[in-house]
């Protein structure tokens, strides 16, 4: 039992590192500034499917903090929580869908989009003047990179799972 605990802890740490490393590989640069990474969410999805949602959420939240330490963007306390620990922590819900990994990835990705989306709205409510529509802007901006990113993640997670099955709990 003890051994599984250490194993889970170390695998979480390494998965976070792998996510951060893959995040540095930009596969596709979008014209308006966002970019698609080489499946930077896949390690966290894989970890969640392997160890369960709890482990995935903790590792995801940690990935958020690591991303913050690597390149901090802090403009509002709510924005910080939504864009970092929450946005990435919610990726872990993929672990609830072990029977249907693709649905798990979609759910996790949708959660992350929602978190960035709300953060965008909060930010614009704070800084942009009345009259501009934060809802539309935030949806367009965050959707433009999250949608392809989720598509890439579904494909890659499924293919990685096929090559490297994730036995539950190990």
């Amino acid at each position: 039992m003890k051994s599984a605990r250490t194993r889970r802890l170390v695998e979480s740490g390494i998965a976070v590192a792998l996510s951060a490393a893959l995040g540095l590989v930009k596969v596709y640069q979008l014209p308006q500034g966002g970019s698609i990474t080489a499946g930077s969410m896949v390690p966290v999805f894989y970890l969640s499917l392997r160890w369960g949602a709890r482990t995935g959420v903790v590792a995801g939240a940690l990935l958020g903090l690591v991303n913050f330490v690597l390149e901090p963007v802090f403009v509002h306390p709510a924005q910080f929580l939504l864009d970092y620990p929450l946005a990435f922590g919610v990726l872990g819900v993929a672990g609830l869908f072990r029977k249907l990994p693709w649905l798990g990835v979609v759910a996790g990705g949708a959660g992350r989009f929602l978190s960035h989306y709300v953060s965008g709205v909060v930010f614009f409510a704070q800084y942009a003047p009345r009259g501009t529509s934060p809802w539309v802007y935030s949806a367009v901006y965050n959707g433009s990179y999250m949608l392809p990113e989720v598509v890439v993640s579904v494909v890659l997670t499924l293919l990685v799972l096929r090559a490297l099955p994730a036995p539950e709990g190990l």
Partner: protein
């Protein structure tokens, strides 16, 4: 396909300055307090005093000012957008017109408000940069563990989080290097990683990701075995080589932050 170009992990700038020597807990708490203060400031005078204080702290930290300004790079579009939007729409309904751009009127009130929120954003970013420039990622993880310790009672796994963070930070450079190596190896075999549409590129990444996952998870297994062989049993009763300890300088820093907060926020000051 160059990813290692700018891999100084995190943004730590090693110097032997008084700011670097502060306890990481002091710095995390001070940065948090300062960010709250920036949000509460309501006038330019307050922002000015605050900016002077931050500038002094940056000077004391011996981090080149250019580095600090570079921290603004990820958000400069955001800054510009905020400023422009505020100039034209900041004064809802009315305001003194300054100039026109097609149907849009720039107002004096909008300009003032735009400068104010932009200055606030810049100060916020400088606060975070100062923390990450003067505190190494490992120190940050250490400080985080100690600060979260009181929350263990409510189920926050402080030790586990800090341990994972330390492992993650330690292995990011290793895994970046490995990613690059595998990508080059597959390209040498004719893999075409950067042409075609999105799905094509995603599929092309499979021969990179699979070996990467195999080696990363094997690494994890070896590390777990090595840790247990050395008696790792989780956070309880674990000792450390470098103990965090508050010193006199931490008290001074705390007093300085408290002082500046009062000075900036006191309603009827001066």
């Amino acid at each position: 396909m160059e990813l290692l170009r700018s891999l100084t992990l995190g943004q730590y700038v090693p110097r032997a300055s008084p700011v670097h020597r502060l306890d990481p807990r002091t710095k995390i708490l001070a940065a948090t307090a300062l960010m709250v203060v920036v949000f509460l400031v309501r006038d330019f005078r307050g922002l000015g005093v605050f900016a002077a204080f931050l500038a002094a702290a940056v000077a004391l930290s011996q981090v080149p000012a250019g580095f600090v300004l570079r921290g603004l790079r990820p958000i400069w579009i955001l800054l510009l957008l905020t400023l422009v939007l505020q100039i034209f729409f900041g004064a809802s309904g009315g305001g003194t017109p300054l100039w026109r751009l097609g149907p849009f009127v720039a107002t004096r009130e909008g300009l003032v408000q735009g400068l104010f929120v932009t200055a606030r954003l810049v100060l916020l970013v400088v606060c975070t940069s100062l923390l990450t420039f003067t505190t190494s990622p490992v120190e940050l993880a250490d400080g985080m563990e100690r600060l979260l310790r009181p929350f263990r009672r409510v189920g926050v796994p402080a030790h586990e989080l800090a341990m994972m963070m330390t492992i993650a930070l330690r292995f990011i450079p290793t895994l970046v290097e490995e990613t690059e190596k595998i990508m080059k190896a597959q390209m040498a075999r004719g893999a075409d990683l950067d042409t075609g549409g999105l799905l094509r590129r995603a599929r092309a990444l499979v021969p990179v990701l699979v070996p990467l996952f195999v080696s990363a998870f094997r690494r994890a297994e070896e590390l777990a075995v090595a840790m247990e062989a050395r008696g790792y049993r989780g956070g309880e009763g674990r000792t450390r080589m470098k103990q965090l300890r508050y010193r006199a300088q931490d008290l001074w820093a705390a007093l300085a932050v408290a002082g500046i907060s009062v000075l900036v926020l006191w309603p009827g000051r001066w």
